[in-house]
Protein backbone atom coordinates (compact mmCIF):
# COMPACT_ATOMS: atom_id res chain seq x y z
CA UNK A 1 0.00 0.00 0.00
CA UNK A 2 1.33 3.43 -0.88
CA UNK A 3 1.69 6.30 1.57
CA UNK A 4 -1.21 8.25 0.07
CA UNK A 5 -3.69 5.36 0.43
CA UNK A 6 -2.55 4.60 3.99
CA UNK A 7 -2.87 8.28 5.00
CA UNK A 8 -6.32 8.50 3.47
CA UNK A 9 -7.44 5.29 5.24
CA UNK A 10 -6.20 6.52 8.62
CA UNK A 11 -7.84 9.91 8.11
CA UNK A 12 -11.21 8.48 7.07
CA UNK A 13 -11.18 6.01 9.99
CA UNK A 14 -10.62 8.93 12.35
CA UNK A 15 -13.26 11.11 10.69
CA UNK A 16 -15.88 8.33 10.85
CA UNK A 17 -15.19 7.79 14.52
CA UNK A 18 -15.18 11.55 15.24
CA UNK A 19 -18.49 12.00 13.42
CA UNK A 20 -20.05 9.01 15.19
CA UNK A 21 -19.02 10.19 18.68
CA UNK A 22 -18.78 13.97 18.51
CA UNK A 23 -20.96 15.18 15.63
CA UNK A 24 -23.94 12.94 14.79
CA UNK A 25 -25.30 12.70 18.37
CA UNK A 26 -25.53 16.52 18.47
CA UNK A 27 -27.05 17.08 15.00
CA UNK A 28 -30.47 18.09 16.32
CA UNK A 29 -28.98 20.24 19.10
CA UNK A 30 -26.79 22.07 16.60
CA UNK A 31 -29.85 22.80 14.46
CA UNK A 32 -32.00 23.93 17.39
CA UNK A 33 -29.39 26.02 19.22
CA UNK A 34 -27.73 27.40 16.06
CA UNK A 35 -24.33 26.65 17.53
CA UNK A 36 -21.68 23.93 17.67
CA UNK A 37 -22.69 22.56 21.07
CA UNK A 38 -20.69 20.32 23.40
CA UNK A 39 -17.39 22.07 22.63
CA UNK A 40 -17.53 20.65 19.11
CA UNK A 41 -15.73 23.62 17.58
CA UNK A 42 -12.80 23.31 20.05
CA UNK A 43 -12.56 19.60 19.21
CA UNK A 44 -12.50 20.39 15.48
CA UNK A 45 -9.61 22.82 16.04
CA UNK A 46 -7.72 20.58 18.49
CA UNK A 47 -7.68 17.75 15.98
CA UNK A 48 -6.44 20.10 13.22
CA UNK A 49 -9.39 19.72 10.88
CA UNK A 50 -8.73 23.31 9.73
CA UNK A 51 -5.34 22.18 8.34
CA UNK A 52 -6.70 19.26 6.33
CA UNK A 53 -5.87 20.59 2.84
CA UNK A 54 -3.38 23.26 3.90
CA UNK A 55 -0.05 22.50 2.16
CA UNK A 56 2.57 20.82 4.34
CA UNK A 57 5.05 23.69 3.91
CA UNK A 58 2.66 25.90 5.90
CA UNK A 59 2.16 23.34 8.67
CA UNK A 60 -0.85 21.60 7.14
CA UNK A 61 -1.67 17.97 6.38
CA UNK A 62 -1.68 18.60 2.60
CA UNK A 63 -4.53 16.23 1.65
CA UNK A 64 -5.72 16.44 -1.96
CA UNK A 65 -9.08 17.57 -3.31
CA UNK A 66 -10.64 14.10 -3.42
CA UNK A 67 -9.70 13.27 0.16
CA UNK A 68 -10.89 16.67 1.37
CA UNK A 69 -14.23 16.14 -0.38
CA UNK A 70 -14.61 12.64 1.11
CA UNK A 71 -14.02 14.06 4.59
CA UNK A 72 -16.65 16.77 3.99
CA UNK A 73 -19.03 14.01 2.81
CA UNK A 74 -18.49 12.00 6.02
CA UNK A 75 -18.94 15.03 8.27
CA UNK A 76 -22.13 16.08 6.45
CA UNK A 77 -23.59 12.65 7.18
CA UNK A 78 -23.42 13.65 10.85
CA UNK A 79 -24.17 17.35 10.52
CA UNK A 80 -24.29 19.40 7.31
CA UNK A 81 -23.63 22.75 9.03
CA UNK A 82 -20.21 21.68 10.29
CA UNK A 83 -19.33 20.38 6.82
CA UNK A 84 -20.30 23.75 5.27
CA UNK A 85 -18.30 25.70 7.87
CA UNK A 86 -15.21 23.68 6.91
CA UNK A 87 -16.01 24.02 3.20
CA UNK A 88 -16.07 27.82 3.57
CA UNK A 89 -12.63 27.77 5.20
CA UNK A 90 -11.08 25.34 2.71
CA UNK A 91 -12.13 27.24 -0.41
CA UNK A 92 -10.70 30.45 1.10
CA UNK A 93 -7.40 28.79 2.05
CA UNK A 94 -7.22 27.42 -1.49
CA UNK A 95 -7.47 30.91 -3.05
CA UNK A 96 -4.66 32.26 -0.85
CA UNK A 97 -2.53 29.24 -1.82
CA UNK A 98 -3.35 29.81 -5.48
CA UNK A 99 -3.26 33.60 -5.78
CA UNK A 100 -1.49 34.96 -2.67
CA UNK A 101 1.93 36.65 -2.81
CA UNK A 102 4.72 34.81 -0.97
CA UNK A 103 4.55 37.45 1.75
CA UNK A 104 0.79 36.97 2.18
CA UNK A 105 1.10 33.16 2.18
CA UNK A 106 3.86 33.22 4.78
CA UNK A 107 1.84 35.60 6.93
CA UNK A 108 -1.60 33.96 6.78
CA UNK A 109 -1.35 30.31 5.79
CA UNK A 110 0.40 29.15 8.99
CA UNK A 111 -2.44 30.90 10.87
CA UNK A 112 -5.11 29.00 8.91
CA UNK A 113 -4.51 26.13 11.34
CA UNK A 114 -6.28 28.05 14.11
CA UNK A 115 -8.01 31.01 12.51
CA UNK A 116 -10.92 30.55 10.10
CA UNK A 117 -10.61 32.32 6.75
CA UNK A 118 -13.80 33.41 4.95
CA UNK A 119 -14.56 34.48 1.41
CA UNK A 120 -16.91 37.39 0.89
CA UNK A 121 -18.41 38.74 -2.29
CA UNK A 122 -22.08 39.52 -1.52
CA UNK A 123 -23.30 43.00 -0.60
CA UNK A 124 -26.80 44.44 -0.17
CA UNK A 125 -26.50 45.66 -3.78
CA UNK A 126 -25.16 42.50 -5.45
CA UNK A 127 -24.49 38.83 -4.96
CA UNK A 128 -24.52 36.73 -8.10
CA UNK A 129 -23.89 40.01 -9.97
CA UNK A 130 -20.46 41.04 -8.64
CA UNK A 131 -20.37 44.28 -10.66
CA UNK A 132 -23.22 45.49 -8.47
CA UNK A 133 -21.01 45.82 -5.40
CA UNK A 134 -20.04 49.13 -3.79
CA UNK A 135 -17.01 48.18 -1.66
CA UNK A 136 -13.87 49.73 -3.00
CA UNK A 137 -10.13 50.03 -2.45
CA UNK A 138 -8.11 53.12 -3.27
CA UNK A 139 -4.38 53.32 -3.64
CA UNK A 140 -2.68 55.72 -1.25
CA UNK A 141 1.10 55.72 -1.62
CA UNK A 142 2.19 52.09 -1.24
CA UNK A 143 -0.97 51.17 0.69
CA UNK A 144 -4.57 50.37 -0.22
CA UNK A 145 -7.47 51.92 1.74
CA UNK A 146 -10.56 49.66 1.82
CA UNK A 147 -14.14 50.73 2.55
CA UNK A 148 -17.37 48.81 2.25
CA UNK A 149 -19.94 46.47 3.69
CA UNK A 150 -20.06 42.69 3.08
CA UNK A 151 -23.08 40.61 4.06
CA UNK A 152 -24.24 36.98 4.18
CA UNK A 153 -20.68 35.71 4.59
CA UNK A 154 -20.40 31.98 5.31
CA UNK A 155 -18.63 31.83 8.70
CA UNK A 156 -19.06 35.61 9.07
CA UNK A 157 -18.45 36.31 12.75
CA UNK A 158 -16.59 33.04 13.32
CA UNK A 159 -13.89 33.78 10.74
CA UNK A 160 -11.05 36.12 11.70
CA UNK A 161 -9.53 36.60 8.25
CA UNK A 162 -11.54 37.61 5.15
CA UNK A 163 -10.87 37.57 1.41
CA UNK A 164 -13.00 40.53 0.25
CA UNK A 165 -14.11 41.47 -3.24
CA UNK A 166 -13.87 45.20 -3.91
CA UNK A 167 -13.76 47.58 -6.86
CA UNK A 168 -10.33 49.04 -7.60
CA UNK A 169 -11.83 51.06 -10.49
CA UNK A 170 -15.47 51.50 -11.64
CA UNK A 171 -15.37 48.31 -13.74
CA UNK A 172 -12.39 46.58 -12.11
CA UNK A 173 -12.84 43.88 -9.44
CA UNK A 174 -10.05 42.76 -7.11
CA UNK A 175 -9.65 40.68 -3.98
CA UNK A 176 -7.85 41.74 -0.79
CA UNK A 177 -7.20 39.91 2.47
CA UNK A 178 -8.24 41.73 5.65
CA UNK A 179 -7.98 40.67 9.26
CA UNK A 180 -10.30 41.29 12.22
CA UNK A 181 -7.35 42.77 14.13
CA UNK A 182 -6.95 45.62 11.63
CA UNK A 183 -8.09 49.12 12.51
CA UNK A 184 -11.41 49.90 10.84
CA UNK A 185 -12.65 46.26 10.86
CA UNK A 186 -16.05 45.69 12.49
CA UNK A 187 -18.45 42.77 12.70
CA UNK A 188 -22.06 43.55 11.74
CA UNK A 189 -25.42 41.79 11.76
CA UNK A 190 -25.76 38.00 11.95
CA UNK A 191 -28.32 36.40 9.60
CA UNK A 192 -31.17 34.24 10.84
CA UNK A 193 -31.27 31.64 8.06
CA UNK A 194 -33.78 28.84 7.52
CA UNK A 195 -31.31 25.96 7.22
CA UNK A 196 -27.68 25.06 7.93
CA UNK A 197 -28.36 26.91 11.15
CA UNK A 198 -25.08 25.90 12.78
CA UNK A 199 -23.13 27.93 10.22
CA UNK A 200 -22.66 31.50 11.37
CA UNK A 201 -23.57 33.81 8.49
CA UNK A 202 -22.81 37.46 9.05
CA UNK A 203 -21.72 40.89 7.98
CA UNK A 204 -18.41 42.74 8.17
CA UNK A 205 -17.96 46.49 7.82
CA UNK A 206 -14.70 47.97 6.58
CA UNK A 207 -13.94 51.61 7.47
CA UNK A 208 -10.70 52.88 5.97
CA UNK A 209 -8.85 49.60 6.50
CA UNK A 210 -5.26 50.13 5.41
CA UNK A 211 -3.41 47.16 3.89
CA UNK A 212 -0.07 46.60 2.17
CA UNK A 213 0.15 45.76 -1.53
CA UNK A 214 0.98 42.17 -0.45
CA UNK A 215 -2.65 41.76 0.73
CA UNK A 216 -3.89 41.91 -2.86
CA UNK A 217 -4.81 38.42 -4.15
CA UNK A 218 -3.32 37.95 -7.60
CA UNK A 219 -3.29 41.25 -9.49
CA UNK A 220 -5.78 44.13 -9.70
CA UNK A 221 -8.64 43.18 -11.97
CA UNK A 222 -8.47 39.45 -11.16
CA UNK A 223 -11.58 39.58 -8.97
CA UNK A 224 -13.82 37.62 -11.33
CA UNK A 225 -11.25 34.89 -11.96
CA UNK A 226 -10.57 34.41 -8.25
CA UNK A 227 -14.30 34.47 -7.45
CA UNK A 228 -14.94 31.81 -10.10
CA UNK A 229 -12.07 29.70 -8.79
CA UNK A 230 -13.47 29.83 -5.23
CA UNK A 231 -16.93 28.96 -6.50
CA UNK A 232 -15.62 25.90 -8.36
CA UNK A 233 -13.89 24.73 -5.18
CA UNK A 234 -16.99 25.33 -3.09
CA UNK A 235 -19.35 23.60 -5.53
CA UNK A 236 -17.36 20.35 -5.46
CA UNK A 237 -17.45 20.37 -1.68
CA UNK A 238 -21.15 21.21 -1.69
CA UNK A 239 -21.71 18.11 -3.83
CA UNK A 240 -19.99 16.23 -1.01
CA UNK A 241 -22.20 17.91 1.62
CA UNK A 242 -25.33 17.04 -0.37
CA UNK A 243 -24.20 13.42 -0.71
CA UNK A 244 -23.76 13.31 3.07
CA UNK A 245 -27.26 14.74 3.60
CA UNK A 246 -28.78 12.08 1.30
CA UNK A 247 -26.81 9.33 3.05
CA UNK A 248 -28.24 10.59 6.34
CA UNK A 249 -31.75 10.54 4.83
CA UNK A 250 -31.21 6.99 3.53
CA UNK A 251 -30.09 5.81 6.98
CA UNK A 252 -33.26 7.25 8.50
CA UNK A 253 -35.75 5.99 5.91
CA UNK A 254 -34.34 2.47 5.52
CA UNK A 255 -34.29 1.99 9.29
CA UNK A 256 -37.84 3.28 9.62
CA UNK A 257 -39.23 1.38 6.63
CA UNK A 258 -37.63 -1.87 7.79
CA UNK A 259 -39.19 -1.68 11.25
CA UNK A 260 -42.50 0.09 10.55
CA UNK A 261 -45.25 -2.33 9.65
CA UNK A 262 -48.53 -1.90 7.82
CA UNK A 263 -50.87 -4.87 7.62
CA UNK A 264 -48.19 -6.93 9.42
CA UNK A 265 -45.66 -6.22 6.64
CA UNK A 266 -42.61 -3.96 6.96
CA UNK A 267 -43.34 -1.02 4.67
CA UNK A 268 -39.96 -1.51 2.89
CA UNK A 269 -41.70 -4.47 1.17
CA UNK A 270 -44.22 -2.14 -0.45
CA UNK A 271 -43.57 -0.86 -3.95
CA UNK A 272 -44.67 2.72 -3.26
CA UNK A 273 -42.03 2.99 -0.51
CA UNK A 274 -39.42 1.05 -2.51
CA UNK A 275 -39.67 3.47 -5.40
CA UNK A 276 -38.99 6.46 -3.15
CA UNK A 277 -36.09 4.75 -1.34
CA UNK A 278 -34.55 3.68 -4.66
CA UNK A 279 -34.85 7.21 -6.06
CA UNK A 280 -33.07 8.65 -3.02
CA UNK A 281 -30.30 6.05 -3.40
CA UNK A 282 -29.88 6.81 -7.13
CA UNK A 283 -29.70 10.56 -6.46
CA UNK A 284 -27.18 10.04 -3.67
CA UNK A 285 -24.93 7.86 -5.82
CA UNK A 286 -25.15 10.19 -8.83
CA UNK A 287 -24.22 13.24 -6.75
CA UNK A 288 -21.34 11.28 -5.20
CA UNK A 289 -19.98 10.31 -8.62
CA UNK A 290 -20.33 13.90 -9.86
CA UNK A 291 -18.43 15.47 -6.95
CA UNK A 292 -15.77 12.76 -7.00
CA UNK A 293 -15.22 13.24 -10.73
CA UNK A 294 -14.97 17.03 -10.30
CA UNK A 295 -12.52 16.58 -7.38
CA UNK A 296 -10.43 14.13 -9.44
CA UNK A 297 -10.30 16.64 -12.32
CA UNK A 298 -9.24 19.38 -9.91
CA UNK A 299 -6.43 17.17 -8.52
CA UNK A 300 -5.26 16.52 -12.08
CA UNK A 301 -5.19 20.19 -13.05
CA UNK A 302 -8.14 19.95 -15.46
CA UNK A 303 -10.94 22.48 -15.95
CA UNK A 304 -13.70 21.20 -13.65
CA UNK A 305 -16.08 24.17 -13.69
CA UNK A 306 -18.88 22.31 -15.46
CA UNK A 307 -18.63 19.14 -13.35
CA UNK A 308 -18.56 21.21 -10.14
CA UNK A 309 -21.67 23.12 -11.28
CA UNK A 310 -23.40 19.81 -12.09
CA UNK A 311 -22.59 18.35 -8.67
CA UNK A 312 -24.15 21.34 -6.96
CA UNK A 313 -27.10 21.91 -9.31
CA UNK A 314 -28.09 18.23 -9.48
CA UNK A 315 -27.22 17.45 -5.85
CA UNK A 316 -29.10 20.34 -4.26
CA UNK A 317 -32.43 19.77 -6.05
CA UNK A 318 -32.07 16.00 -5.57
CA UNK A 319 -31.39 16.34 -1.84
CA UNK A 320 -34.44 18.59 -1.37
CA UNK A 321 -36.58 16.08 -3.30
CA UNK A 322 -35.00 13.18 -1.36
CA UNK A 323 -35.83 15.01 1.87
CA UNK A 324 -39.42 15.48 0.75
CA UNK A 325 -39.71 11.77 -0.12
CA UNK A 326 -38.12 10.85 3.21
CA UNK A 327 -40.63 13.06 5.04
CA UNK A 328 -43.47 11.29 3.25
CA UNK A 329 -42.11 7.83 4.15
CA UNK A 330 -41.81 8.78 7.82
CA UNK A 331 -45.27 10.38 7.79
CA UNK A 332 -46.02 12.24 11.03
CA UNK A 333 -42.49 11.63 12.32
CA UNK A 334 -41.11 13.17 9.15
CA UNK A 335 -43.21 16.28 9.69
CA UNK A 336 -42.12 16.64 13.33
CA UNK A 337 -39.55 19.18 14.52
CA UNK A 338 -38.40 16.49 16.98
CA UNK A 339 -37.03 14.35 14.12
CA UNK A 340 -34.19 15.33 11.78
CA UNK A 341 -35.83 15.00 8.35
CA UNK A 342 -37.29 18.51 8.28
CA UNK A 343 -33.95 20.17 9.00
CA UNK A 344 -32.23 18.08 6.33
CA UNK A 345 -34.65 19.59 3.80
CA UNK A 346 -33.90 23.11 5.11
CA UNK A 347 -30.16 22.39 4.98
CA UNK A 348 -30.26 21.06 1.42
CA UNK A 349 -32.43 23.99 0.27
CA UNK A 350 -29.66 26.45 1.21
CA UNK A 351 -27.44 24.93 -1.43
CA UNK A 352 -29.81 25.81 -4.26
CA UNK A 353 -28.84 29.43 -3.48
CA UNK A 354 -25.41 29.60 -1.82
CA UNK A 355 -22.21 29.67 -3.92
CA UNK A 356 -24.16 30.72 -7.00
CA UNK A 357 -27.81 29.87 -7.58
CA UNK A 358 -28.80 26.71 -9.43
CA UNK A 359 -30.00 28.97 -12.26
CA UNK A 360 -26.45 30.33 -12.53
CA UNK A 361 -25.11 26.76 -12.50
CA UNK A 362 -27.29 25.90 -15.47
CA UNK A 363 -26.06 28.94 -17.37
CA UNK A 364 -22.47 27.83 -16.75
CA UNK A 365 -23.23 24.24 -17.81
CA UNK A 366 -25.10 25.27 -20.97
CA UNK A 367 -22.36 27.70 -22.06
CA UNK A 368 -19.66 25.07 -21.43
CA UNK A 369 -21.59 22.55 -23.53
CA UNK A 370 -21.92 25.08 -26.38
CA UNK A 371 -18.28 26.14 -26.05
CA UNK A 372 -17.05 22.56 -26.28
CA UNK A 373 -18.86 22.15 -29.60
CA UNK A 374 -17.98 25.52 -31.12
Amino acid sequence: MDQKTISQDILLRMVKSFVKNEVAPYDMDIDHTRSYVNDLWSKVKENDFLSLMLPKEYGGAGFDGRTTAKVINEIAKGNASLAVTLEGHFKSVDQIVKYGSDELKNEYLPQAKNRVIAFSMTEPSGGSNPMGINSHAEKSGDKWIINGDKIMITNGGLAEIYCVLVKTAPTELSFFVVDNEMEGFEYGKQENFLGLTGVPVGEIVMNNIEVDESHLLGKVGMGKEIGDSAHDDARVLMGAVLTGIMEHELDLVTDYATHRKAIDTPIIQMQGIQRKVADIAISKETTKLLYQKAAWMKDHGQDYEEEAAMAKAYGSRSAVKAGDDSLQILGGYGYSLDYPIEHLIRDARAMEIAEGTVEKMRTAIALKEAESRA
Binding site: I10, L11, M14, N47, G59, A61
Partner: protein
Protein backbone atom coordinates in the same frame (compact mmCIF):
# COMPACT_ATOMS: atom_id res chain seq x y z
CA UNK B 1 11.81 2.07 29.85
CA UNK B 2 10.61 0.02 26.90
CA UNK B 3 6.89 -0.67 26.32
CA UNK B 4 5.51 -3.03 23.67
CA UNK B 5 1.82 -2.61 22.77
CA UNK B 6 0.17 -5.47 20.88
CA UNK B 7 -2.72 -4.38 18.69
CA UNK B 8 -5.14 -6.11 16.35
CA UNK B 9 -6.92 -4.78 13.26
CA UNK B 10 -10.59 -5.75 13.46
CA UNK B 11 -13.52 -5.24 11.06
CA UNK B 12 -15.02 -1.77 11.28
CA UNK B 13 -18.54 -3.08 11.12
CA UNK B 14 -20.41 -5.00 13.79
CA UNK B 15 -22.22 -6.80 10.99
CA UNK B 16 -19.49 -9.43 10.42
CA UNK B 17 -19.89 -12.43 8.15
CA UNK B 18 -18.39 -15.83 8.88
CA UNK B 19 -16.58 -17.77 6.16
CA UNK B 20 -18.49 -21.06 6.03
CA UNK B 21 -15.39 -23.03 5.05
CA UNK B 22 -12.84 -21.74 7.54
CA UNK B 23 -15.34 -20.74 10.27
CA UNK B 24 -13.28 -17.57 10.59
CA UNK B 25 -14.36 -13.98 10.12
CA UNK B 26 -14.60 -13.10 6.45
CA UNK B 27 -12.50 -9.95 6.21
CA UNK B 28 -12.89 -9.50 2.47
CA UNK B 29 -14.21 -6.07 1.50
CA UNK B 30 -14.47 -4.88 5.09
CA UNK B 31 -12.29 -1.99 6.13
CA UNK B 32 -10.49 -2.42 9.43
CA UNK B 33 -9.90 -0.34 12.53
CA UNK B 34 -7.69 -0.76 15.59
CA UNK B 35 -9.49 -3.00 18.11
CA UNK B 36 -11.24 -0.68 20.56
CA UNK B 37 -9.58 -2.15 23.70
CA UNK B 38 -6.15 -1.90 22.05
CA UNK B 39 -6.75 1.85 21.62
CA UNK B 40 -6.99 2.00 25.42
CA UNK B 41 -3.78 -0.04 25.77
CA UNK B 42 -2.04 2.38 23.38
CA UNK B 43 -3.33 5.38 25.28
CA UNK B 44 -2.09 3.88 28.55
CA UNK B 45 1.35 3.49 26.95
CA UNK B 46 1.30 7.13 25.76
CA UNK B 47 0.37 8.30 29.29
CA UNK B 48 3.36 6.42 30.71
CA UNK B 49 5.54 7.79 27.90
CA UNK B 50 4.46 11.35 28.76
CA UNK B 51 5.46 10.84 32.41
CA UNK B 52 8.62 8.77 32.02
CA UNK B 53 9.84 9.28 28.46
CA UNK B 54 9.38 5.56 27.80
CA UNK B 55 9.88 4.16 24.30
CA UNK B 56 6.63 2.78 22.80
CA UNK B 57 6.88 -0.01 20.24
CA UNK B 58 3.65 -1.16 18.63
CA UNK B 59 3.24 -4.58 17.09
CA UNK B 60 0.65 -6.64 15.25
CA UNK B 61 0.48 -9.93 13.37
CA UNK B 62 -1.49 -10.08 10.16
CA UNK B 63 -1.56 -9.46 6.40
CA UNK B 64 0.11 -6.49 4.72
CA UNK B 65 -2.93 -4.21 4.95
CA UNK B 66 -2.65 -4.25 8.77
CA UNK B 67 0.12 -1.70 8.14
CA UNK B 68 -2.63 0.97 8.20
CA UNK B 69 -3.30 0.32 11.89
CA UNK B 70 0.40 0.38 12.71
CA UNK B 71 0.89 3.66 10.84
CA UNK B 72 -2.11 5.04 12.72
CA UNK B 73 -0.42 4.04 15.99
CA UNK B 74 2.72 5.88 14.84
CA UNK B 75 0.58 8.96 14.09
CA UNK B 76 -0.92 8.66 17.58
CA UNK B 77 2.55 8.76 19.13
CA UNK B 78 4.26 5.34 19.00
CA UNK B 79 8.01 5.46 18.38
CA UNK B 80 8.27 2.42 16.13
CA UNK B 81 6.04 -0.26 14.65
CA UNK B 82 6.56 -3.90 13.72
CA UNK B 83 4.34 -5.94 11.39
CA UNK B 84 4.65 -9.71 11.85
CA UNK B 85 3.60 -11.01 8.49
CA UNK B 86 4.27 -14.27 6.70
CA UNK B 87 2.23 -16.81 4.78
CA UNK B 88 3.38 -19.34 7.38
CA UNK B 89 1.39 -17.47 10.06
CA UNK B 90 -1.94 -17.91 8.22
CA UNK B 91 -4.67 -19.81 10.05
CA UNK B 92 -3.12 -19.22 13.48
CA UNK B 93 -5.32 -19.57 16.53
CA UNK B 94 -4.68 -17.66 19.77
CA UNK B 95 -1.95 -20.08 20.88
CA UNK B 96 0.06 -19.89 17.64
CA UNK B 97 -0.43 -16.11 17.46
CA UNK B 98 0.68 -15.69 21.08
CA UNK B 99 3.76 -17.81 20.37
CA UNK B 100 4.85 -15.59 17.43
CA UNK B 101 4.14 -12.38 19.38
CA UNK B 102 6.20 -13.61 22.35
CA UNK B 103 9.13 -14.55 20.11
CA UNK B 104 9.01 -11.07 18.56
CA UNK B 105 9.00 -9.50 22.03
CA UNK B 106 12.02 -11.64 22.94
CA UNK B 107 13.78 -10.42 19.82
CA UNK B 108 13.13 -6.77 20.77
CA UNK B 109 14.72 -7.53 24.14
CA UNK B 110 14.77 -5.71 27.51
CA UNK B 111 11.02 -5.03 27.40
CA UNK B 112 9.72 -3.66 30.72
CA UNK B 113 6.03 -3.60 30.00
CA UNK B 114 3.78 -5.40 27.51
CA UNK B 115 0.30 -3.90 27.08
CA UNK B 116 -2.64 -5.45 25.25
CA UNK B 117 -6.35 -4.75 25.11
CA UNK B 118 -8.44 -6.98 27.38
CA UNK B 119 -9.86 -8.77 24.33
CA UNK B 120 -10.56 -8.24 20.64
CA UNK B 121 -14.05 -7.21 19.60
CA UNK B 122 -14.14 -9.73 16.73
CA UNK B 123 -12.96 -13.01 18.29
CA UNK B 124 -13.66 -11.93 21.89
CA UNK B 125 -11.49 -14.62 23.53
CA UNK B 126 -9.43 -12.49 25.92
CA UNK B 127 -6.73 -15.17 25.78
CA UNK B 128 -3.87 -13.31 24.09
CA UNK B 129 -2.53 -11.56 27.22
CA UNK B 130 -2.32 -14.71 29.37
CA UNK B 131 -0.84 -16.76 26.48
CA UNK B 132 1.91 -14.24 25.68
CA UNK B 133 2.80 -13.83 29.37
CA UNK B 134 3.16 -17.61 29.76
CA UNK B 135 5.45 -17.85 26.72
CA UNK B 136 7.53 -14.94 28.06
CA UNK B 137 7.45 -16.29 31.61
CA UNK B 138 6.45 -12.78 32.64
CA UNK B 139 3.98 -11.85 35.41
CA UNK B 140 0.59 -10.80 34.16
CA UNK B 141 -2.25 -8.60 35.37
CA UNK B 142 -5.48 -8.74 33.37
CA UNK B 143 -8.35 -6.22 33.19
CA UNK B 144 -6.39 -3.17 34.36
CA UNK B 145 -8.53 -0.06 34.63
CA UNK B 146 -5.82 2.25 35.93
CA UNK B 147 -2.05 2.10 35.54
CA UNK B 148 0.63 4.17 37.30
CA UNK B 149 4.34 3.61 36.95
CA UNK B 150 6.32 4.23 40.11
CA UNK B 151 10.02 3.52 39.61
CA UNK B 152 10.38 -0.18 38.82
CA UNK B 153 6.85 -1.02 39.91
CA UNK B 154 3.45 -0.61 38.34
CA UNK B 155 0.33 0.22 40.40
CA UNK B 156 -2.78 -1.23 38.83
CA UNK B 157 -6.45 -0.87 39.67
CA UNK B 158 -8.78 -3.72 38.70
CA UNK B 159 -12.56 -3.37 38.92
CA UNK B 160 -13.87 -6.91 39.03
CA UNK B 161 -17.50 -7.95 39.31
CA UNK B 162 -17.79 -7.68 43.06
CA UNK B 163 -14.41 -6.39 44.22
CA UNK B 164 -11.98 -3.61 43.51
CA UNK B 165 -8.34 -4.70 43.56
CA UNK B 166 -5.13 -2.68 43.90
CA UNK B 167 -2.20 -4.62 42.50
CA UNK B 168 1.43 -3.62 42.77
CA UNK B 169 3.53 -5.43 40.16
CA UNK B 170 7.26 -5.38 39.70
CA UNK B 171 8.45 -4.73 36.15
CA UNK B 172 8.69 -6.48 33.74
CA UNK B 173 5.00 -7.27 33.56
CA UNK B 174 2.30 -7.90 30.97
CA UNK B 175 -0.99 -6.06 31.47
CA UNK B 176 -4.30 -6.26 29.61
CA UNK B 177 -6.26 -3.01 29.63
CA UNK B 178 -10.01 -2.31 29.88
CA UNK B 179 -11.97 0.49 28.28
CA UNK B 180 -12.24 2.23 31.68
CA UNK B 181 -8.51 2.97 31.75
CA UNK B 182 -8.58 6.21 29.74
CA UNK B 183 -10.24 8.17 26.96
CA UNK B 184 -8.31 7.48 23.73
CA UNK B 185 -7.52 10.58 21.69
CA UNK B 186 -8.33 10.91 18.00
CA UNK B 187 -5.41 10.80 15.61
CA UNK B 188 -4.52 14.39 14.77
CA UNK B 189 -5.03 15.31 11.09
CA UNK B 190 -1.56 16.84 10.67
CA UNK B 191 0.22 14.06 12.59
CA UNK B 192 -0.93 11.52 9.97
CA UNK B 193 1.38 13.05 7.33
CA UNK B 194 4.21 13.52 9.85
CA UNK B 195 4.00 9.88 10.99
CA UNK B 196 5.66 8.75 7.75
CA UNK B 197 8.97 10.08 9.09
CA UNK B 198 8.80 6.81 11.06
CA UNK B 199 8.20 3.66 9.07
CA UNK B 200 6.69 0.25 9.80
CA UNK B 201 9.23 -2.61 9.94
CA UNK B 202 8.10 -6.04 8.72
CA UNK B 203 9.40 -9.20 10.37
CA UNK B 204 8.84 -12.47 8.50
CA UNK B 205 8.99 -15.96 9.99
CA UNK B 206 12.67 -16.18 9.01
CA UNK B 207 13.46 -13.08 11.09
CA UNK B 208 12.36 -14.84 14.28
CA UNK B 209 13.63 -17.86 16.16
CA UNK B 210 10.53 -20.00 15.55
CA UNK B 211 9.70 -23.68 15.79
CA UNK B 212 7.85 -24.39 12.49
CA UNK B 213 5.41 -26.77 14.18
CA UNK B 214 4.15 -24.06 16.47
CA UNK B 215 3.13 -21.42 13.92
CA UNK B 216 0.14 -21.00 11.61
CA UNK B 217 -2.39 -23.76 11.19
CA UNK B 218 0.14 -26.45 12.22
CA UNK B 219 0.62 -24.80 15.60
CA UNK B 220 -3.08 -24.25 16.23
CA UNK B 221 -4.74 -26.98 18.30
CA UNK B 222 -8.11 -25.25 18.41
CA UNK B 223 -10.51 -25.82 15.53
CA UNK B 224 -13.80 -24.01 15.08
CA UNK B 225 -16.28 -26.75 14.17
CA UNK B 226 -19.36 -24.59 13.93
CA UNK B 227 -20.48 -21.11 14.64
CA UNK B 228 -23.99 -19.82 15.22
CA UNK B 229 -25.81 -16.85 16.68
CA UNK B 230 -28.14 -17.62 19.56
CA UNK B 231 -31.74 -17.06 18.60
CA UNK B 232 -33.42 -14.30 20.52
CA UNK B 233 -36.35 -15.78 22.43
CA UNK B 234 -38.69 -13.68 24.54
CA UNK B 235 -39.53 -15.28 27.88
CA UNK B 236 -41.02 -14.22 31.22
CA UNK B 237 -43.01 -11.46 29.58
CA UNK B 238 -44.49 -9.19 32.16
CA UNK B 239 -46.47 -6.07 31.36
CA UNK B 240 -45.87 -3.20 33.75
CA UNK B 241 -48.65 -0.93 34.98
CA UNK B 242 -49.90 1.69 32.51
CA UNK B 243 -49.35 4.62 34.85
CA UNK B 244 -45.64 5.66 34.57
CA UNK B 245 -45.23 6.21 38.34
CA UNK B 246 -46.72 2.80 39.18
CA UNK B 247 -44.69 1.17 36.38
CA UNK B 248 -41.47 2.68 37.74
CA UNK B 249 -42.26 1.54 41.30
CA UNK B 250 -43.07 -1.94 40.08
CA UNK B 251 -39.89 -2.14 37.99
CA UNK B 252 -37.73 -1.09 40.95
CA UNK B 253 -39.44 -3.70 43.13
CA UNK B 254 -38.83 -6.48 40.57
CA UNK B 255 -35.17 -5.50 40.08
CA UNK B 256 -34.66 -5.50 43.87
CA UNK B 257 -36.31 -8.91 44.20
CA UNK B 258 -33.90 -10.28 41.61
CA UNK B 259 -30.96 -8.58 43.38
CA UNK B 260 -30.16 -6.66 40.20
CA UNK B 261 -30.73 -3.37 41.99
CA UNK B 262 -29.12 -3.09 45.41
CA UNK B 263 -29.85 -0.22 47.75
CA UNK B 264 -26.89 1.84 48.97
CA UNK B 265 -26.16 1.21 52.61
Amino acid sequence: MKIVVGIKQVPETTNVKINEKTKNIDRRGISGVINQYDRHALEAAFDIKAKTGAEVIVMTMGPDDFVVSLQEALALGADSAILLSDRAFAGADTLATGYVLSEAIKKIGDVDLVLLGQQSVDADTGQMGPIVSEFLDMSQVTYASKLDVDGDTLRIKRYLETVEQDVIAKLPVLVTVTDQANEPKYVNVVEIAKSFEKSVITWHASDLNLDDDRVGQAGSPSVVRSISSPEAVAKDNHKLADNPQDAADELVRILKDKNILVEDK
